[in-house]
Structure formats: C-alpha cells, structure tokens
Amino acid sequence: MSAKIMGFDAYNFNFFWLMLLTAIEVGVVAQSENMAWATLIFVLVSIGVVKFIGIAAVFMHLRFSPDSNVLTATALFPVIFIVLLVLMVGLTSPSAVENLPAFCRPGYYGL
C-alpha cells in the first residue's frame, strides 16, 4: 500500500498517532485517581475506538485498497451477533438493568 494521509506515508502516519494515543491512554490511567470515573471511562473508550479504527483501516487495509469495501462489510458482519451476545448474554443478569451504572440509564444526560 502506498497510500498517503495528509501527505504522509499512511503506515508511518498511523503508527505515530497510535503511539501517541497509547501514551495518553497509559498516562490517563496513571492519573486516574485525580479524574472523575465517568471522564476516565469516556477517555479510555474514545481512545480505544480511535485506535481500533486506525489499526483496522490502515494496517489491515480496510481502506485504500481496491477490495476494501467488500472486506469491510465482511469484517462488520459479525457485529450483529456481537450486539446480540452483549444484549442477550451480557445483560441477562436479573439485576443487570437495575444495577447499570448511572451513565447507562435514561436521564443521566438530561435526555
């Protein structure tokens, strides 16, 4: 793949940001005692999602290749089963709904 992102080699560009995000991730946890719990989770999940996309899109060639689209669709196919797994297994505890953290409940975000 000789794709470029913002004029830089895609692999190098992706690697630089992945390293930076990982450093932030570890640093945030190191300072977790000084952060609100919800903020910590939000930062960790956000960084995780961005890293996930970076690795899948650039390193796994789900972008910038002629067959990227069909392979992206293939890779995303299990998502429906993953959602079902989480809903039907992960949240089947009798008290799971009542004991969900506040940030997962209606009203937490003023909605």
């Binding site: 690697f15 946890v29 960790l44 796994m60 392979l71 293939t74 797994l85 089947t92 009798p94």
Partner: protein
C-alpha cells in the same frame, strides 16, 4: 494467479503443490481438539471449588494432540516454503460479492470473524458477571459475611498497585509497567509487520538486500511478540523486580481463580477496614480472557518463527508478499483484541 497457468480465476487446478490444497489446517484443528480435550481432563475442580485435582492419566493423549499439531505445522510449512506466489487463486469474476478478491484473503477474514466471536463471548461473559456481582469497593465499610462473592477487578492489583503501590516512575504504579510495555510492544509489532510487507513489495531493491530487510522486520516482530509473553509471565507468576521496579506477581498477591477467602484491606486511618471475600469470578474471567489472548500471541510467535526462517532463506518477494499481508491480518487482529482487553481488564 499468474498468466503461466493460462487462466486467471478460480482454484480449479490442484496439482501445483501450492498451499491452497493443504490438509494441514484440518490436521492442526484435530490435534488442537485432542490436546484441549485431554489437557482439560487432567484437571478437575475439587468439591469445595477452591482448588483442583490433578490426574496424569490423560496427559499422554494431550501430548499426542500436541504431536498432531506439530506434524500438521511441519506439513504446512513444507508446502508453503516453495510457494513463490505464482498461483494465487481469486474468486471467479461475477461471483459476487468477492469477485476478483484473493480467496486466501477472504478465507483469512472469515477466520478472523470467528475469532471476533470468541473474544465477544468472553466480553459478554465479563459484562454479565461484572453487572451482577457487587463491586468489592461498594462493600467497603459494611458488615460482610466472610466468603461473600464480590468483584475485585484486576485493575485493583495492576492500575492501582493493590496494597503495594510502589511507584518508581512517580506517575504510575510499578505493577502497571509490564502491561504498559506490552501495549506499546503490540503497537510497534503491528508497525514492523506492515513494514515487512511494504519492504517485500519493493522492486527497487536487490533480492538479497530486500530479503535481509524483510527478515529483520519479521525478526523484530518476533522479538516484540516474545517480549509480550515474557512480560505477561512476569506479571502473572514472577513479579516485576527489575532494577528499581518492585511489583509482586498476581499469583503472590493471591489474585487466583480459586481464592474464596481473599483478605481485602481498604481505607486509611479511622476509615481503614478489612473483609474476607470470594474473588474467584473476577480472577477467572481475567485469566481466561487475557490467557486466550496470550495463546493467540503464542500462535503468532510460532508462525513468525517460520516466516523469519523463510525470509532468511530469501523466500519473500513482490510475488508472494501477500503471505506476509495475510499473516499480518491475524497479527493486527491480536493487536485489536488487546486494544479492547487492556482498558477493560487492566485499567478499569
């Protein structure tokens, strides 16, 4: 597929000795099944469910399973060693949705889909029990019956440092250092494997020079993967006692899958307290998930070992660089799984 075979699409010719007609994956699968079945039979939980009974009788059959796996690998590698990329079958034109896509590439993605389901089931289990068992933190200050089950996450021992929050670096407990090193090691190894692919595709280099560079990138990936497993062993069993660092192992901290009487100390001064709790569930799910990931890393190391040897013999070039790409897909998946495992199990 190259033109020298006279056609462009489809795995219709099986006489090339190319790896696409190999029985090896099936042999390896059978060997894995035999090994896992009999290895599991060697260990049974005791009546109190706080220890195990070891029976050596099934072990010979477990070893036989390993031998079958090894035979399958040798067979597969012998077939692949001479593969120069001259026969890369593609899905037949018009066979939507994969027209003209390499069949091996599609096969690898289908394999990765099954891998996603494995890790998803582990995460669903994690969510299931984490939402249904009280956190040990939430029980602090209350009267707790000894042996009460509660969730003491691995992050208590790792990200918080447990009762031994020694911090050499000043901004993170020593116990987190192996996990942090591992996270960087996997990210860097993802980069080195794509650089191996990029280099193998280069046509501006002499074959010998290109082979050395490819071997070095693959070798770096191998070393980083090995570092990952070594750090994991240090974290689980040995403890991080290198230089000024001082972090006990999870084993010596008694974070084990059959600890139903863990003494959890909390608070300071007048608010200090202790309770005896059952932490088996949290420990089981932690070791099962991170252990499954570790097994994937180990499988990657075995594959990388072969690829380094093949690269050293000059076995990779622009014609068959896709083999590195397909292994790379697996390796990036292992990295992706860690992206999810690390914050969920080590940091939260």
């Amino acid at each position: 597929m190259s033109d020298d075979h006279g056609y462009h699409h489809g795995p219709h010719e099986w006489s090339h000795g190319a790896p696409h007609n190999s029985w090896a994956p099936i042999i390896i699968s059978i060997g894995s099944g035999v090994f896992l079945f009999f290895f599991a039979k060697a260990f049974t939980m005791n009546e109190g469910m706080n220890g195990y009974i070891y029976d050596s009788a099934p072990l010979p059959l477990a070893i036989a399973g390993l031998a079958i796996i090894f035979a399958g690998l040798i067979s597969w590698w012998k077939q692949d060693f001479s593969f120069d990329g001259s026969y890369e079958p593609q899905a037949t034109h018009g066979s939507t949705p994969f027209s003209n896509v390499d069949i091996r590439k599609v096969g690898m993605w289908v394999f990765l889909m099954s891998e996603m389901m494995i890790f998803s089931s582990l995460f669903a289990t994690y969510i299931r029990y984490r939402t249904s068992i009280d956190s040990c933190y939430s029980l602090e200050g209350t009267v707790v019956e000894p042996g009460t089950a509660c969730w003491l996450p691995a992050s208590y021992f790792i990200a918080k440092g447990g009762e031994h929050a020694h911090s050499t670096l000043g901004f993170m407990p020593d116990a987190l250092v192996p996990g942090a090193i591992n996270t960087f090691a996997l990210i860097i190894s993802s980069y080195t494997i794509v650089m191996a692919l990029k280099t193998a595709k280069r046509t501006d280099l002499e074959h010998a020079e290109r082979s050395i560079k490819v071997r070095n990138y693959l070798g770096a990936t191998f070393c980083l993967a090995t570092l990952f497993l070594v750090m994991k062993m240090i974290e689980w069993f040995i403890g991080f006692h290198i230089g000024p660092f001082e972090a006990p192992s999870l084993l010596s901290d008694q974070f084990t899958i059959h600890n139903d009487a863990y003494t959890y100390n909390y608070g300071h001064g007048a608010e200090a307290g202790a309770m005896t709790v059952d932490i088996r569930m949290a420990a089981s799910i932690f070791y099962l998930t991170t252990g499954t990931h570790g097994v994937h890393v180990f499988a990657g190391i075995v594959g990388l070992g072969y690829m380094v040897v093949k690269a050293h013999k000059g076995g990779y070039g622009p014609g068959n660089s896709v083999s590195i790409e397909y292994f790379g897909l697996y390796w990036h998946f292992v990295d992706l799984a860690w992206v999810a495992v690390f914050p969920a199990f080590y940091l939260y």
